[in-house]
């Protein structure tokens, strides 16, 4: 995975990512050898502003039970818990990066029996590599500011939301898997991704409809007169020394939306990196 920028004044990558590097490792460096990409990629064009998918992946824990209930109920044959757990937290390691974490013992993987069995088997190795922070949170979906997102919960995907104008976004989506995983697990991840998180995905197709309608609604004469309300959970967040990140007290909160849009507004207004 290579990150690049055309901006000669941009800070070096480790500085730009900061504490987000540990959270990236929790997606991509769980086993010796790292990850590999499954053949090819999905590319498609969505009629929405790029910020909706970016904030959704990094902060919108509360859309799941309404947007995706149809898929949760019908897409998996076993092991699905529709009751929302109370554990977990919204995490922002700073600079606009945002991650949704479930509780350390909550399932954060596709509810496919062989994938769950595989995850149980590799758990000691993952714990050893990621250290004690994994005993506090289980990161399942997030966004590296501004438009790179990743997801573990219904498949293994990372994607770039390419802006194609204010109301159009092209998705570049890859599936990935631990390089050390056996072939049948790689195939299970591929199939779970195609069926759940792809242009036809039983989860993802409903997201796209939401983002399209959010974009349309925001263009309205009356909605343009109003401010965006992201006040959910305001005042119920703090810097957590162990997570090395801003964290919400409760799993359902817009604390990550505030972190994301605060950084966006800051960078949009700044004349140069020196003034950020």
């Amino acid at each position: 995975m290579i990150f690049a920028t055309f901006d000669p004044e941009a800070p070096p990558l480790p500085e730009y990512l900061g504490e987000m590097t540990w959270y990236l490792d929790a997606f991509f460096d769980r086993r010796e050898g790292g990850i590999e990409v499954i053949g090819g990629m999905h590319r498609w064009v969505m009629p929405c502003n790029w910020k909706f998918p970016a904030e959704n992946f990094g902060g919108d824990a509360y859309h799941v039970q309404w947007t995706h209930l149809s898929a949760i109920k019908t897409s998996f044959s076993t092991g699905v818990v529709t009751k929302p757990n109370a554990t977990g937290t919204m995490v922002s390691p700073g600079q606009g990066h945002i991650v949704i974490c479930v509780g350390p013992t909550d399932v954060g993987d596709p509810p496919v029996p062989e994938i769950l069995a595989y995850e149980r088997e590799i758990r000691p190795e993952v714990e050893k590599r990621l250290g004690s922070r994994l005993g506090l949170v289980n990161p399942i979906v997030g966004t590296v500011f501004p438009n790179f997102s990743m997801l573990r919960a219904t498949s293994r995907t990372f994607r770039v939301w390419q802006p194609r104008g204010p109301d159009k976004t092209e998705v570049w989506s890859w599936f990935y898997v631990d390089k050390a995983a056996p072939p049948e697990i790689k195939e299970a991840v591929r199939v779970a991704g195609v069926r759940g998180f792809s242009p036809s995905g039983t989860f993802e197709q409903d997201d796209m409809d939401n983002w399209q309608e959010c974009t349309r609604t925001c263009r309205g004469v009356v909605s343009r007169r109003l401010s965006l309300n992201t006040a959910m959970g305001l005042g119920h967040e703090r810097y957590d020394e162990d997570l090395k990140a801003w964290a919400s007290d409760f799993r359902i909160s817009e604390s990550n939306h505030r972190q994301f849009y605060r950084r966006w507004a800051q960078l949009m207004a700044a004349e140069s990196w020196a003034k950020v």
Partner: protein, 181 residues
């Protein structure tokens, strides 16, 4: 191929298309065998091996076909009868927002060719599709491509035992694939 058989296959495919356009998905599902593989592959953009536009490449490793492989590559759909049934059950929940309100579809099936299959009870059937999807006020998409079907004679009637869909797009220009083909 006997003229009569060709007509029979055509009528089978036209009726199937009508079931989809009338959103009679449970009846449509019954047209598939229990062991069906139903998948849609995408296309990529590739230089032909003989192209002078590129100067450095390993000709032995170059894959000229622009159709994604059947196994291992990402498909747009890759379904069994059970997961097709799951997609239909999802539509029945009343919470499948991508199809709420539903798409208006029109499936045009053409260029039908019928060939003998791998066994006496099977046929290989090729066809092309143009699917128009219109939804809400002004959303519209065209999905155009080819189908490679295996039809199997089960108890005197035809069932689809395999369906490969090849979509003629690299970047999918529709926002999603929430309909059937």
């Amino acid at each position: 191929m006997r003229e009569e058989l060709l007509r029979e296959v055509e009528q089978f495919l036209y009726r199937e298309a009508r079931l989809l356009d009338e959103r009679r998905f449970h009846e449509w599902l019954e047209l598939f065998t229990d062991d069906v593989r139903y998948w849609m592959v995408g296309r990529t953009t590739r230089y032909p091996t003989a192209s002078k536009a590129i100067t450095t490449m390993n000709r032995h490793r170059h894959r000229e076909t622009d159709v994604a492989s059947d196994d291992g590559d990402l498909a747009i759909l890759d379904e069994t009868k059970a997961t097709l049934g799951g997609r239909i059950a999802r539509l029945d929940t009343g919470m499948a927002w991508a199809e709420d309100p539903p798409s208006r579809t029109r499936h045009i099936i053409a260029n039908i060719e019928v060939e003998p299959g791998d066994s006496a009870s099977e046929l290989n059937v090729y066809s092309n599709f143009v699917v128009y999807r219109n939804r809400s006020e002004s959303e519209q998409d065209f999905y155009v491509g080819a189908r490679q079907d295996t039809l199997r004679n089960v108890d005197g009637g035809w069932k689809i035992a395999r369906r490969k869909l090849v979509l003629d797009q690299n970047v999918l220009l529709a926002k999603n694939v929430s309909i059937f083909f």
